[in-house]
Structure formats: C-alpha cells, structure tokens
Amino acid sequence: MRRGAKIETLIEAIIGGEAQRSVQIAEQLLKEGLTVETLIQEGLTSALYSLNTKCTNEDFNLLEIMLAGRAMMAVMDNVVCRYLPPSRTGETRPEKTIVLGTIEGDIHELGKHVVKILLRSAGYKVIDIGKDVPPEEFVSEAIKHQAGYIGVSSLLTPTLPSIKKIKEILKRQGREDIRVVAGGAAVQQASAEDLNVDFVSGNAFDLLRYLDGIRDELT
C-alpha cells in the first residue's frame, strides 16, 4: 500500500513537470526496494498514459507536455539508467526503432523533440536526424539504422511536396516495409493519402498508439 502511494506521488510529480522532485522520489523508491522494472511500468509508463489521456481532450498544450517529458527524462537519465544493464550492441529491433526528422525547408524542431522524449520514455529507439532534412536522407538513415519507421515533421505547408517523396523513394529502393508517419502543424490539415504517408499523427500520443499497434501486429 505504502509503495503504491509513493508511486502515485511519482506519477503526480512527473505529470506536474517537477523534474527534481521526480528524481528524488524515484531514487527513494529504488532505495526502499522497488525494482527498476516496476518503477518503469507502474511509474513512468503510467505517467505517460495519464498524459496520453490528457492529450485526447482540449487540455493539451505543449508547455505542460514538455515539462512532464523533461521530468520523465530526468528520471530516465539520472535514475533508471544506473540500474539498467547496458544494452547489447547490434540488438536493433526495427519494430522499436524510428528515424525522426524535420523535412527540408523547415527548421522547427519543438514538436519533434516532444515526440522524441515520449517515444524514448516508451522504450523506442529514436534516431534524430535533425532539421531541414531532404527526403532521400530520411530513407538512407532509416535503412542504415534498420528502422521500421520514418517519422517526418513539418510546420510549414510549402514543405508538403517533399514529404510525399519519401514513400516514392522507399518504393524505388524496394523498402516499402518501412512505414512513414507525418506529424506537425502543417500536416494536420491533410490526409495520409494527400501526403503519401502511412499515417498522419495528431499528436505525440497518437503516434505512440499507432506505433504500438503496428508493433503488436508484428510481434
């Protein structure tokens, strides 16, 4: 009971965006004997899904999501990492790997950063290839990193033709197995068909749900 109450406190601290307090509570929980796996599953993952619920209604705003993401990453980087075994090299799982970038002609990265934080918190390997990235590079990086997905972000409508090219290039290279998802303000007004992508994501959690759905299909 006591542990449950403390985990609730951790979840509240993360959702409230209190990074320092979240780290302190997580440290304390592990010292008291909680396993790091339970901390992730009952603490971080629950916090993530509480945010998810929040994002589906009109309360969504970037600032609160970023603060919660920062608190979650602080726990991951300062606490969880010290207790987890180092990952083995060469253990890339395409269904858990995504190449993420902002399309050429656009240098906005905020939305991409939010997505990166949340996907990493949810256990995905995220390869951030930066901003102003040509479509060809999305494809070459995805192949290089054995990623199952390409995530392309855009805030500006003039960049949309470049997004459309990604799947054309994948097709030419016989890699249609790599799925393309688009997010960001510019793409919200368009359909997946308009953009020639597999999925248009309304927000970071929408993307997470989509990826989890695909992963479950594949595993």
Binding site: E58, F60, L67, E109, L110, H113, T157, P158, Q189
Partner: protein, 341 residues
C-alpha cells in the same frame, strides 16, 4: 459601399451590402508578378505591387503590409536566414531570458526590415486612400520572445525563470508598441497582431492570462490612441479556451482558426467581430467549387450573426492558386443576392 466602409460597418455589426471578405493573402501574392518570396519579403515595391494586383484579381476587402513573422526579432538583433522561395527563418540569439542587454530596441526606420513594412503601409495607403483598409501586420510579445530565445527554451523558462521572461516580454512589448504606432503613423488603417506562441496549444490558459493578456490590452490601446481604426487579433490553433478573454484585449476583430466552430466562437466572444474559419490547406487541396461551398457553409452558419467577416483561419499557403481565394468573394456576392442583408 467601398471596402473600407464595408469592413468598418462589419466590425460595428452594422448592415453591409455584402459580407466583408478578408482572407490572409500575403506571400501567396508574390507569384502574380513572378517574384520570389525573397523579393517579396525584402522589397516594399514588390509587396505593394502584388497586394494591389491580388486585390484586383480576387476582389477582397483588404490589402496587407506584411512580409513575414521574423521582422521584429531581426530588428532586435537576431540573425535571419533568407531563402529564395520560402519565408525566412530566425535563429535564436540569446540563451537566457535574462540576456536582454544583448538585444536592442530597434530604430523602426533603420533596423532590419521594419522600413519595408512602414514603406509598404505608406505606399498602399497612397494608392488605395480610404477605399480599402490597409492592414499592417505586427508580431506579438510572446512570439517575438520565442524567436529571440528559441521556442523550447522560452517554454521551459516561463516555468523556471518567470521573472526574467516577464522582463524579456516587457522589451518585446515595447518593440511591438513602437512598431505598431509607426505603421499607423505611416498610413495603415488598422493592425493585425499575430501571436501564435500565445495559442493554448502552446501555453496553458494561465500563461496567456498572466503574460499575454495585459500586454495585448496595452498594445491595442496605444494603437487606438495613435489613430488605428481597428485592431485585429490573430492567434492560430484551437483557441476556444482563451476566446472569452479576447473581449478584454480591446481587439475589434479576431481570427477563429479552423479547429473552432464559428457559431460556438461567436457565443464565446459575446458579440465581438470575428473572421474565419476556412482551413488554409483547402486552397491547395480543393477545387474552386469546393472552396466556394465551404465559404457558403460559413456564410450560412453566421447568417444571423452581426460582425462576421468571411476569411481564413490562418494564412493562405504560398503555393496555393489564387483562383480559389476568389471563390470567397464570389460566395459572398452570391450570398448577398440570395439573402438581402
């Protein structure tokens, strides 16, 4: 009834010969005369030529002295990267909100491209006189701060260093105020203030109320004192949560973006004049007839609401064909014929 009379009457909720049409057409007009976006955002003669040409083609009720959203930040000292066929982008110039000593309060006639807007306002007014509203565009305090500091650092520092952010916002407010007064002085009839960073999609309602609302109130008052016929507030995204506060800003007109239903917005705005909410992407994805149908839907929805001006929820994309924008004016004309207002 000329366009200025029509718009002013619309803003007051008075009867007009047809619904005013004020789509946000800026860089999209450059191609009418074969100019690049770079030429558009740096040369007032290009802005004027294209805005006048666009109005002749479309027949809408406004001309804009607008280039892009980086003018104020650039004039304060930020580096701006120009491209031939895209709007320029700004690079963050400070790391902490407290570094205001690394920024300058610009001299509006000299620094950056503020003179492009001033000159465009003047020349447009000389050309249209009082037959059509000349609307000059300025950027609001939160967005300028986001450009100087970077959006992500600004958001974190709103929480981590609120006092320093307030100081930075005092400075950006002063810049917006000086610039707004100068464009009115130069000849603009009214001002449209863009502040996308103030959207509830980006910051919570309490940040809007605490950091933005009092500044908008002061800015709009100072523009009115300088002779602005109207102030137009344009914040993109789903702004439903902050619409009830708009009345307190002193704005005469507000934009409603496509995510918010027009009738619901009208209720929340308690009778304020509003424009919107045609989705900008339809000008790329839809035919003339489909766009006209969307415009008709807006006109029908707002038929009993005084103070509605037909327009877009945000800027018409630069790569959209302008024929589609003409559909808005045609819809308004047809609506007038069908419904005597």
């Amino acid at each position: 009834m000329n366009s200025l009379e029509r718009v002013i009457k619309s803003l007051k909720g008075e009867e007009t010969d047809r619904v005013s049409v004020i789509p946000q057409v800026f860089g999209v007009t450059a191609k009418l005369r074969g100019y690049s976006l770079y030429e558009y955002v740096t040369d007032p003669s290009v802005v004027v030529e294209c805005q006048i040409e666009a109005r002749e083609l479309i027949g809408h009720d406004v001309v804009y002295a607008f280039v892009d959203l980086t003018v104020e930040a650039e004039a304060m000292g930020a580096e701006v990267i120009y491209r031939r066929d895209a709007y320029p982008v700004v690079k963050a110039t400070i790391k902490e909100a407290s570094e205001t000593d690394r920024l300058r309060i610009p001299e509006v006639t000299r620094d950056g491209r503020m003179a492009v807007i001033l000159e465009s306002s003047k020349r447009l007014r000389d050309l249209v006189s009082d037959t059509c509203p000349v609307v000059a565009c300025i950027v609001g305090p939160l967005t300028i701060a986001g450009q100087l500091l970077g959006i992500e650092p600004l958001l974190y520092q709103i929480v981590d260093a609120p006092e320093a952010v307030e100081t930075l916002l005092d400075m950006t407010e002063e810049v917006a105020g000086r610039f707004g007064r100068a464009v009115i002085q130069a000849g603009a009839h009214g001002i449209i203030l863009f502040d996308p960073m103030a959207s509830p999609v980006v910051v919570p309602e309490d940040v809007f109320v605490r950091m933005e609302l009092p500044r908008l109130k002061r800015l709009f008052q100072t523009f009115k004192d300088r002779g602005a016929l109207f102030n137009w507030l344009s914040i993109t995204g789903n702004c439903k949560r902050i619409l009830p506060y708009y009345r307190l800003t002193g704005a005469d007109l507000v934009t409603v973006d496509y995510q918010v239903n027009l009738s619901e917005a009208y209720g929340l705005l308690e009778g304020m004049a509003l424009t919107g909410n045609i989705k900008p992407y339809v000008f790329i994805s839809s035919t003339y007839d489909e766009i006209k149908e969307k415009a008709r839907e807006c006109l029908h929805e707002m038929a009993d609401c005084r103070g509605y001006l037909l327009g877009t929820g945000c800027e018409v994309p630069v790569d959209a064909p302008l024929d589609g924008v003409r559909a808005l004016v045609d819809a308004s004309e047809e609506f007038r014929r069908d419904h005597v207002r």
